[in-house]
């Protein structure tokens, strides 16, 4: 066993004292009427901070790749270049985060051993691989400065944009298709939530970098409206499954994340017509909200897995 600290030993003694008191008070029967001693049925995700961080970075980078492609199409090379750089940075960080979260990081290539459509994790691994390859090709192609290099880079930009769209939405499938009650319940909502959140974050990052084109403001506004609408779907429920989204630590994170990326930037962007600086505040809030939302969903899943009533259906008994 690992070394036991004095504090741990004291906690243990206190817990055993409580058990003895319970035994004296309640008699010989120790099992509660419902469930098995209230022990969780499910196991929570072992994901550490890297996964929610990746969900944010991957989603924002994916949308930036789409913006880069659209900006090039609409003849805004400065925005296209910066969006491409943000996307490429995200593409470089994503696999690092995912690999460091593995229990055996050295075996990360096993992810590409099979192509398995029924596994969202497998599809995600291939998607990240495709996105990173396309971004790498784009960066190298543009660096060469040759005509051929530019042509290759433009093809890569298109591939990255298409992969980026799915990169921003597949995490909803990844989390929805699990046994975790709160994720499973919102399997149809999660892809939309992540899409809207990533959309707002990507436009906001580019605004914070210094771009002021109207398109980014329109994207930011649409994303804020989207998040606000989706928050209404998830944050005003009173059933047991949705509880981690509205109460406790995960509920606080979830509500703050939604407020930061939905109603708050929406109002600030509308206020920008009389107070231009509000647009930057809106962007900053949207980025923070998008990041917080990913941590909130992961935390809510952890909370959800701990509640045996949700799977046993004994809460109403």
């Amino acid at each position: 066993m690992d070394e036991v600290t004095d504090q741990q030993q004291a906690d243990r003694e206190a817990r055993l004292d409580r058990l003895r008191d319970d035994a004296a008070r309640l008699g010989p029967l120790t099992q509660p009427i419902a469930g098995y001693y209230g022990r969780p049925v499910l196991k929570p995700a072992i994901w550490t901070w890297e996964v929610p961080a990746y969900l944010f970075i991957g989603g924002a980078a994916g949308i930036c790749a789409v913006i880069a492609w659209a900006a090039a199409l609409f003849d805004n090379p400065a925005l296209a270049r910066d969006a491409r750089h943000v996307a490429a940075t995200g593409a470089a960080l994503s696999p690092l985060l995912l690999i460091s979260d593995l229990g055996r990081p050295g075996r990360f290539l096993n992810m590409l051993r099979v192509f398995k459509p029924q596994s969202p994790m497998s599809m995600g691994a291939w998607l990240v691989a495709l996105f990173c390859t396309a971004e790498f090709g784009s960066v190298v192609g543009h660096l060469t400065g040759t005509v051929a290099g530019g042509a290759v880079a433009r093809q890569c930009d298109l591939v990255a944009a298409l992969a980026g769209l799915l990169l921003a939405t597949y995490p909803g499938v990844l989390m929805g298709a699990t046994a975790i009650p709160v994720w499973n319940r919102f399997a149809r909502v999660l892809p939309w939530h992540f899409a809207a959140s990533s959309l707002g974050a990507a436009a906001s990052i580019l605004e914070l970098v210094g771009h002021r084109v109207q398109a980014l403001n329109v994207i930011g506004l649409t994303a804020a409206v989207g998040v606000t609408a989706l928050a209404v779907l998830t944050d005003f429920r009173r059933d047991g499954v949705s509880k981690p989204l509205v109460s406790g630590r995960s509920g606080t994170m979830s509500l703050l994340g939604d407020a930061f990326s939905g109603p708050l930037p929406l109002m600030l962007r509308l206020a920008a017509s009389i107070w231009p600086a509000a647009r930057l505040f809106a962007a900053a809030f949207a980025v923070a909200g998008s990041l917080l939302t990913r941590f909130a969903w992961v935390a809510a899943g952890r909370q959800s897995a701990q509640d045996p009533d949700l799977v046993l259906g004994v809460g109403s008994r």
């Binding site: 066993m1 243990r12 319970d22 010989p28 029967l29 099992q31 469930g35 098995y36 001693y37 022990r39 049925v41 196991k43 072992i46 949308i63 659209a70 609409f74 003849d75 805004n76 229990g103 055996r104 990081p105 096993n110 992810m111 051993r113 099979v114 398995k116 029924q118 596994s119 969202p120 994790m121 769209l165 799915l166 921003a168 939405t169 597949y170 909803g172 499938v173 929805g176 298709a177 699990t178 046994a179 499973n184 399997a187 149809r188 999660l190 892809p191 899409a195 990533s198 002021r212 084109v213 109207q214 398109a215 329109v218 994207i219 231009p276 899943g301 897995a305 799977v311 046993l312 259906g313």
Partner: protein, 256 residues
């Protein structure tokens, strides 16, 4: 190869935990800590990365007296297994005996099987990094032997054999018990859900939820279609929004 199964008859379990010990010994499973739980004689707690058999101690009042029921839990080896579907490396496979097996030389510890198991069986061993669960003693079965827990069980509470034969046996046992006046016995084998039945079936007295057995376990892949459709639609919407935004003003800068 016949599909093999476990039939755990809780009515003859004496709670000796020999199955827990035999499993650990044969499979060389490390210890996972010891703690007094205060929950009857169950200080194992639940199945996990280093507990592949777990004897539950269910306490209740029956006919005015304190009753004690024991039941040895194990990986259910689902007909439609969430962990197997979800595994992105192909580490988790269906063996020729119908069991669900994690190949330890392939698993890279991504942990996705943990959240896709509707029974909370699989977990990642922190100091090892890989996911572990009951192997259905794949090595022993290959050599024509029964799993270690079934071999060691002194009351034949854990029975091993052809799955369909065991299903018949479980139904027969239920009839015998009813004839003897035991009316609260049930067989746990969720054939009615998307899991499609389990290769480890249980006969327990009372409500299955008192044993932490979910009454309606579902394999998570059932929502895959709806979730991917949502992702596809959301992706199309993202594409449309971005294009429209650039059509309205891709070059014109806002003041200031």
């Amino acid at each position: 190869m016949p599909t093999t199964g476990f039939f755990t008859d809780s009515t003859v379990c004496i709670g000796c935990k020999a199955c827990e010990v035999a499993c650990k010994e044969w499979n060389d499973v490390p210890h996972d800590g010891f703690e007094w739980t205060g929950q009857s004689y169950d200080n194992t707690g639940g199945l996990g990365h280093s507990t592949w058999r777990h004897v539950k101690f269910v306490e209740r009042v029956r006919d005015g007296a304190t009753a004690w029921d024991f039941s040895s839990d194990v990986c259910k080896h689902c007909e439609h297994a969430g962990c197997l579907e979800a595994c992105p490396t192909g580490s988790i496979v269906r063996t020729e005996f119908g069991g669900v097996f994690i190949q330890p030389d392939i698993c890279n510890g991504c942990g996705y099987c943990i959240v896709t198991c509707p029974f909370g069986v699989v977990d990642r061993r922190p100091d090892d990094g890989r996911a572990f669960k009951c192997t259905f003693c794949y090595d022993r079965q290959k050599a024509g032997l029964e799993p270690a827990c079934a071999k060691v069980c002194p009351t034949q509470s854990i029975q091993f054999g052809d799955l369909e034969a065991l299903r018949v046996k479980a139904a027969e046992r239920l009839t015998v018990l009813e004839a003897r006046g035991v009316t609260d016995a049930v067989v746990y084998d969720p054939l009615h859900t998307s899991v499609g039945g389990t290769h480890a079936i249980f006969l327990v007295r009372g409500d299955v939820t008192e044993y932490n057995l979910p009454p309606n376990p579902e394999v998570p892949t059932t929502v895959l279609g709806a979730a991917w459709r949502a992702a596809g639609l959301a992706s199309a919407a993202l594409f449309g929004i971005i294009l429209l935004a650039f059509l309205t003003g891709g070059r014109s800068a806002l003041a200031p």
